[in-house]
Symmetry: D2
Subunit: 305 residues, 4 copies
């Protein structure tokens, strides 16, 4: 097999302060499809270009942030093997039973060194509304709002990122696409695919911190259209539309009504595991993060949930 092991970022569960506001934001502004509301009030959404039951879960809470980040793995054998490897690495692995999130099979859950909850799962139902399979048009319906295709990646903040990197590479088979010397230490962009990153970490002392969740768009003009949508609806933009030096992606950072940072992302190079790791030195980190501005904005390191 060519694509094996961990396939992709599959599910992110976010805490939001007001569910109605959050639904307007994620469904009508980002353009995600609303799949269902669970018995416990969690709301499930997905991108129009995703096959799986859902990829974004919103949970109403008193504090914004990320509950968990779950990867879809190739199959149940892979899941069992990886769960054993994770336990052998020294993490406590617990089972989240099938159905805890509707449509999703058994999840293996564990906390990594940075304090984040990472999960793995192999089985998930297909959504009712998927990309068309027979004679597919380029979209199953006209895009709405920003028209995001899919959940793409997240950037997480926390301590012990060197150890997190070791775990992701030695146990989960990720590669380090890029590194950057940040004030708190080496930040890493990790990939399990041809994408320039599937998850990234920046070292800070606060454990289990959430910088942003990114959604994929096809091209830079979709990113600027998303910017027009943000300005039209007065959605606060952090930075952009701009380009990252790191990954080369086109980007806007903006905030959901609860203060969770979102990103729309397009482009980025095609990564292969035999590529050398790219690195950014401390004096060029500004250009690495924001290629045109060539300096970090105040909020990049200080604002997270």
């Amino acid at each position: 097999m060519a694509l094996t092991g961990v396939l992709r970022p599959g599910i992110i569960q976010l805490r939001v302060l007001d569910m109605d506001d959050a639904i307007v934001h994620y469904r009508d502004r980002l353009g995600l499809q609303e799949v269902m509301t669970g018995d416990d009030g969690r709301v499930y959404l997905k991108g129009w270009d995703e096959f799986d039951h859902h990829s974004v879960v919103l949970r109403e809470a008193d504090e914004a942030g990320m509950d968990l980040f779950a990867f879809k793995v190739a199959d149940t054998e892979t899941l069992d093997q990886l769960a054993a490897d994770v336990a052998a690495y020294g993490f406590e692995v617990s089972d989240v039973p099938a159905g805890e999130q509707p449509g999703v099979g058994l999840r293996k859950s564990f906390e990594i060194q940075s304090g984040h909850t990472i999960q793995l799962y192999a089985e998930v139902e297909q959504a009712e509304k998927t990309p068309t399979i027979v004679n597919p048009d380029v979209w199953p319906e006209e895009p709405r709002g920003m028209g995001v295709n899919r959940f793409d990646h997240a950037l997480l903040y926390g301590p012990d990122i060197d150890q997190v990197t070791d775990f992701f590479c030695s146990v989960l088979g990720f590669s380090v696409a890029e590194t950057a010397e940040t004030p708190g230490g080496i930040a890493v962009w990790l990939t399990c695919s041809n994408k320039a990153h599937d998850i990234a970490f920046v070292p800070i002392p606060d454990p289990n911190s959430f910088h942003h969740v990114a959604f994929f768009l096809e091209e830079q003009n979709h990113v600027t259209h998303a910017g027009d949508v943000m300005a039209f609806y007065d959605i606060p933009i952090d930075v952009g539309p701009t380009r990252h030096g790191i990954t080369r992606g086109r980007t806007i950072y903006f905030f959901d009504p609860s203060g969770n940072r979102n990103e729309v992302f397009a482009g980025g190079y095609t990564y292969y595991p035999d590529n050398p790791t790219r690195s950014w030195t401390a004096d060029q980190i500004g250009k690495g993060i924001f290629y045109y501005e060539r300096e970090l904005n105040e909020a990049f390191l200080s604002v997270y949930t």
Copy 2:
């Protein structure tokens, strides 16, 4: 490991009728970097976004067409295992010694059912001019001509495509991203990555036939810029700029001075091996190939080298 086995289309060797004309075309118009000329007169080129020594080999000959299509695999253990698997599948596997193409290690070579020569290799030197590794700009130099990033894929024509598909999937670990009912039978788009296709086959009786080699561009506007370059230099366009229904990619088909069909390609969905196979029925094949025109042009099935 997440990306394993066959990593990518690595090298394509093409026959050209006049080397000087071919160099102008591939270097100055497509914008490939000219790496070197070998002792036997073969010319080696690569895209500015590729790390390996070369990806395109031009050989002067009396007839246009493709000599061979070689895949880079993950490592030498993978190469040995795959070579054994290919032999066990019943193909005669021969060794092409390291250095037969400068910078490239041992290649395992075999002819598949459609008559094409496919090769696998694990070792290749890095080029002198690669993408920058430390504090990389978005390109290592200003793009020239069409500014193609990299060798992306090829579409091959020949008999027994059902068997070819079986071989690629069962031995080399490829997935069938899409199929289409063509006049000669089922055409297939095969992938070993997150790309919508790494190689594709359309069934016709003529063995070992070559439809096109594709080069990757970042976005649709780069594709139309490539079209401007083609019109400016009177490079014959077959079809486009347009969009494929199959893969959703932005595309232009055009011809090199020897009559080999080239493609510039951007976009295409993100593929995962747990995605269902998309399929196109005979009555919609025109839309599948050329999404806007919704009909095949005469040349698509009849012109190949």
Copy 3:
């Protein structure tokens, strides 16, 4: 004054075979705003980026085609002067009273040598829904369908185009931006503005013939998005997305349900009246019309309404 005389193409009245189908096409697919239905059943529409009461009038009839093409002029003094000049040139000028089209003042109407009805008017009410005036967003509402900004120009077919050109230039103050040697004689692209064309004529024997009406889009990626909308809703495309050599514009030709050809158009150079006239020779006319294809399609000269 810098912009004087004839300001712009203001109104086009088209004949459609089925009004319901036409409304779906022009409102939901092109994305025009439906303004009102008149007492006589005519339907009035406008682009989201237009201030005037309407720009497109649909009239149900047994045959497709164009009833009239009306230019907005600077003011009533200009209207009176131009009407006198037209009459002095030898055309019979008749009055269409204010209100014959809701919101539009007195129109001066006359038939030009090619058999088309051309009108001039100075007064028109502003629409209820205009672009925002105070702290305007980039659009007054999220674009729908193809999201066309405005009525841009038309291409008309008919006899005696040399005389038509003389009339437009010597009486209405237009300039010839480009000419092309077509089988029936010299075609002309005429402008009264910085646009590369406001109206164009191709010589054929049939009088009063209509080739297409064009709607403006901001950029090429909006043109290809329009192509995606067309493919999704099975709207027949004539040619494109492509580029014109003439004007350099990005373009798709397609058909409304009655067989009237439409165009979405973006780009084109900035024209000034001291620019030399560009010209296309007979052997390069294909490239002039369709820059990438470099040949006329069969329909360009033979299909009109």
Copy 4:
């Protein structure tokens, strides 16, 4: 005539601190064509899409800034009439003889209330390298660097902008496309064409101050390509790539080696003199200037030459 009076911004003369650095910047980075060096050392350049002898003049001096801004008018009768009107308005009009800038005829020169030198001229030779006239390709040569098409407009800072506006509108036939409440008073965007602005003024006490000169690009993707060129060559960016609320244009502000602010600009709505004036209130001025950021950066009001 439809386009009459003042046709366009024709020539801007800038002061630069080091001519060699300036030539590299304007020729190799912006992609202007170098036309010639005059006997007095001034260097003349133009965009590839301009017909006139030159549009940018660089003069080496001890201080950066703008010497003069000259408009091309329709013809010599217009020039005489406008010069008389300017004198009647109360400005002292002096003659700059033909040939003072090579290829340019008699210029009428005067100082406006804000302290800037404005000139008018009717005659200018065509450049040797113009856009092609017969069977023109979309460019006369492959674009280099940012590939700017043409000199587009300037934004000037100075006192008494209300009076400047009165002069431009009542004497030169300009319209006020937009206004904005800035800390120093009402800023104005003035147009003599279908462009959203040909010249703009922001009120500050310092007379004869220069904010930026803008160069036209066809589309937003050309603007972001320009941004890539700036980052690659370490050209300092002030703001962008972003979008203006005012004019809707796509933009980057950046600096030449002497500290003169440049802009690359694409898009902007199509303006007509019967359009209402758009206005921006003090609380929304940030969004007016930078549509996505929605706040002024420090440098916008404080940095000028």
